[in-house]
Amino acid sequence: MKIEQSERGSVERPGALAEESQARGGARPALEGQIIDTIDRAIVKATQDGLPLVERPYHAVAETVGIPPEEVMERLERLLAAGVIRRIGLVPNHYALGYGFNGMTVWDVADGDVSEAGRLVGELDFVSHCYHRPRALPDWPYSLFAMIHAKERVAADALVARIAATLGPLSSGHLVLFSSRILKKTGLRL
């Protein structure tokens, strides 16, 4: 699978995020604390279902929000540069493109090794998302999550094997949870 990379290698590390603050029911800090203003919010609301598919989509958004189109475009440029917008473009339905084997691979990596392991796996060109998440012992020892996508089962298995080879002794066990059905995929809604 040939892929392009946009953000590979960029690591986000919410520094103040103590493990205990992630505990269920605990206060969750806004990770980056970069709060958007009310006009930005209105732009989010006007575009969360997608851009209008018309010749001047940003002008259509401007009309909805009630500000000049130049301001919509300036704000989008700023939000994109700040990473509040990850990117602007299309999101393909990977099932429709033939990627029928979408696996959440989860790896049992010791807490002290997760940052190194995540950096290594995040650099693999076929991994679409890679996160450190809390393990839930005793039933769930897995702390490193990496998503893979393939058109055939054998190809998916080969990708899992490449992650396993990359991690080597850093991982003491893993699972692959393939998705059997999309139950909902709407994306963010304000």
């Binding site: 946009s6 989008l76 990473g83 299309l90 393909p92 963010l188 809604r189």
Partner: protein, 147 residues
């Protein structure tokens, strides 16, 4: 889906122009007419080849909350529980997966404290435990698919 559609999907997973006539600019780069590009994107969206077209917002950078949660749902209740979980507008994605934890969903909220409320409401309405697995560190997001 023809070769031109594939070129569009491969080229436009990011970097869509911010300009008065962005489809015209994107079409020119692809050697297409603006109207043809618009028509093809509309058709692919209507056919479900494209899930969405526009800015991809980063919930946490907007000051919001985001988490991944999982539940073990008895098979005979699976569709009913899926309907309850999906009824929350804060549930952005939900996938059935092959494991004892067989329902995995992403919750995105405008206020971080709303996450715990949504998960508690899901537990109350389903009578099932929700295992919350918020990210501690992000290593990579953003693979683009080759059509």
């Amino acid at each position: 889906m023809d070769d031109t559609d594939r070129r569009i999907v491969n080229a436009l997973q990011g970097g869509f122009p911010i300009a008065e006539r962005p489809f015209a600019a994107a079409a020119e780069a692809l050697g297409l007419e603006e109207a043809d590009l618009l028509a093809r994107i509309k058709a692919m969206r209507d056919d479900g080849v494209i899930s969405r077209f526009g800015p991809l917002w980063h919930a946490e950078k907007m000051g919001g909350g985001l988490t991944l949660s999982a539940m073990s749902v008895p098979a005979e209740r699976f569709d009913d529980v899926a309907a309850i979980v999906n009824s929350f507008p804060e549930v952005a994605h939900n996938y059935a997966r092959d494991h004892a934890l067989n329902m995995w969903f992403v919750v995105a909220t405008e206020r971080p404290e709303r996450i715990a409320e949504v998960l508690a409401e899901i537990e109350a309405r389903t009578g099932l435990a929700v295992h919350d697995m918020p990210k501690i560190e992000e290593f990579f997001v953003g693979l683009r698919f080759e059509a």
